[in-house]
């Protein structure tokens, strides 16, 4: 699977309250959550994001609460993939469980600017900055996690193992 879209850049330690403020956690409908994705962090984001766009963030993306509403909101907003230098661990699990592709690469994050066109090949982990022509390689996904993705998320993985 490939992602192709515009880069939206964010800094270090983007927390889940920034991704989806807790005041909206009285609902769990993905489309409703998507309306408020990142609204306290970047007011343009929620209005201007296009389907297939890519979030590019620094270290510790998704820190803070365990709310699965965070990857749900990002995915429902149409973001195809999140590239970060590192992810907070609960967010990392949740993203895989929800089927939101995430990849880690210091190099890519340092060499992608806001608004540039990016292409990510999720299978190979190759990241291309179409605006500059540069290519980067993401850290490989552990085989165990790959298995969960191949089965279509954690619940499908469990269903397959039980059958």
């Amino acid at each position: 699977m490939k992602c192709k879209g515009k880069a939206w850049k964010f800094g270090q330690n983007v927390d889940t309250d920034a991704i989806i403020p807790a005041r909206y956690l009285n609902v769990s409908d993905p489309d409703e959550l998507a309306l408020h994705c990142m609204e306290d962090e970047n007011t343009h984001f929620v209005k201007e994001v296009k389907k297939g766009d890519i979030i590019v963030a620094d270290t510790n993306f998704g820190c803070g609460s365990s709310r699965e509403h965070a990857p749900i909101a990002i995915k429902a907003k149409g973001i195809c993939c999140v590239i970060a230098k590192s992810f907070a661990r609960i967010f990392y699990r949740n993203a895989f469980n929800m089927g939101l592709p995430i990849v880690e690469s210091y190099e890519a994050v340092d060499n992608i600017q806001e608004g540039q066109e990016i292409e990510v090949d999720l299978k190979s982990g190759n990241i291309r900055n179409m605006s500059t022509g540069e290519s980067f390689k993401a850290n490989p996904i552990p085989p165990f996690m790959q298995e969960i993705i191949d089965d279509g998320g954690l619940m499908d993985h469990i269903a397959r193992e039980r059958s």
Binding site: N13, D15, D17, A18, P21, A22, R23, L25, N26, V27, S28, E39, D40, E41, T59, N60, C63, G64, S65, S66, R67, E68, H69, P71, I72, S86, A88, R89, I90, R93, N94, N97, M98, P142, F144, G153, L154, M155, I158, A159, R162
Partner: protein
């Protein structure tokens, strides 16, 4: 192989003699927790899996605590999902408003979580139970659903960091200050994916309440779990509550740590974390003039009886500054009743504070004390991210209960010593 307490608990729950950091394991879960924010998604996933019954009625725990008593119609709908599922599944540990409290204070208090357990919760502060010498970590709703179906979950065995606290605590310095100081030192991702093992003569003397506060905020350093080696204080706390067997583990002398950090606590003064990260810490003497609109004392971090006693010690005989709101939230019905019996409520009410029923409400900007644009709060909670307690233009400063109480009296962030000296 010499192992840490974290490795030993994980190994025993996997049926292996030993496990090593980085190893992927499928472990048996003793207690799985959900709340009114995270469980509705887990319940939906559970139903999707085709499962009819949870793996064990005694081990799946549902606590409506975030937006309860119901904040609005939407919250009421979420709570209804939780209630109907819990009744249908005949869960032993579902607590309705009136019996429910903030989950991370309630579960230890009722003896639902015990030393040596492996606990997961769809709430990041599930790491609190590490104070009992349990392996306890926060996960998302889908992970909770997986455990509700199978009773098991996959984990990567974490590396451990050993924190050694030495020296005597100064006056007004508590577990909250030790953990804030530690996060300030190592950063909000300083323990990413790792276990924080809290050791040393100082924490050995800490009461259980202080240990809960420290383990509670391990997640604020990015840790997978925080953990204490259980001792006689743990035994005294657990013995009257435990309804099943429990086990004390301890780390081997030669266990491997990726980092060992020694902290001399005699140097540490009460800490305040400035906006917008728990790692932006300063000693109280370095705070400067920060005026506040609201003080919040409570939460899964600092809503226990000892915390309320600390606040009362400062507030006794004082009135809060004019136009300041002081909101006090005892974390469970038992704490609420005991605080009332001890006369703490009179002190709070005389000071001009308001006492809320147990709820997570204001900590996450839910309700019961939301901030307006430009407003500033000092709070004994655990996070001060942008918009955490309300408007994105508001600010949250984190502290221990004594500092929060003193600040309410002063109208600006300050120390109990300022009030007590003034009246000497």
């Amino acid at each position: 192989m010499e192992m840490t307490i974290t490795q030993k608990i994980l190994a025993d729950h996997t049926g292996l003699k030993e496990v090593y950091p980085g190893q992927l394991i499928n472990a048996r879960v003793d207690i799985a927790l959900g709340n009114d924010v995270t469980a509705p998604i887990a319940i939906e996933q559970f139903k999707k899996s085709g499962a009819k019954e949870v793996f064990d009625k005694k081990k799946v725990v549902m606590i409506p605590d975030h937006f309860t008593p119901n904040k609005d119609i939407k919250s009421a709908e979420q709570c209804k999902i939780l209630r109907e599922f819990s009744i249908k599944q005949q869960l032993k540990h579902y607590y309705e408003v009136g019996q429910a409290g903030i989950e991370h204070a309630l579960l230890p208090e009722k003896g639902i979580v015990l030393p040596g357990d492996l606990i997961i919760g769809a709430d990041s502060h599930t790491c609190t139970y590490g104070a009992l010498g349990a392996f306890s970590t926060g996960v998302g709703s889908t992970d909770l659903a997986a455990v509700m179906v199978t009773g098991e979950l996959w984990f990567k065995v974490p590396d451990s960091i050993k924190l050694i606290y030495k020296g005597k605590l100064r006056e007004w310095v508590s577990g909250k200050d030790l953990i804030l100081y530690t996060i300030g030192k190592i950063g909000v991702d300083g323990a990413l994916y790792k276990a924080m093992e809290f050791t040393g003569e100082t924490v050995n003397k800490l009461p259980m309440s202080g240990r809960f506060t420290m383990a509670n905020m391990a997640i604020e350093a990015g840790a997978k779990n925080g953990i204490f080696i259980p001792d006689s204080a743990t035994e005294d706390y657990i013995r009257p509550r435990a309804g099943r067997d429990y086990k004390f583990y301890k780390s081997d002398v030669q266990a491997q740590y990726t980092d060992i950090l020694e902290i001399d606590v005699s140097e540490i003064e009460p800490q305040v974390a400035f906006p917008h990260l728990p790692s932006n810490t300063r000693g109280i003497s370095e705070v400067g003039e920060v005026f506040i609109d609201q003080a919040v004392i409570g939460s899964c971090t600092n809503g226990r009886l000892d915390d309320l006693r600390e606040a009362a010690k400062v507030l006794k005989g004082h009135k809060i500054a004019s136009n300041i709101r002081l909101i006090i939230l005892p974390a469970t019905p038992t704490i609420y009743r005991n605080a009332m019996k001890e006369g703490l409520f009179d002190i709070f009410l005389d000071a001009g504070g308001v006492i809320s029923p147990p709820t997570c409400g204001p900590c996450l900007g839910g309700y019961m004390g939301v901030l307006a644009d430009g407003e500033r709060a000092i709070s004994t909670t655990n996070r001060n991210f942008v918009g955490r307690m309300g408007h994105a233009g508001s600010e949250v400063y984190l502290s221990n209960p004594a500092i929060a109480a003193a600040s309410a009296v002063l109208g600006r962030i300050g120390s109990p010593e300022e009030i007590i000296n003034k009246h000497k």
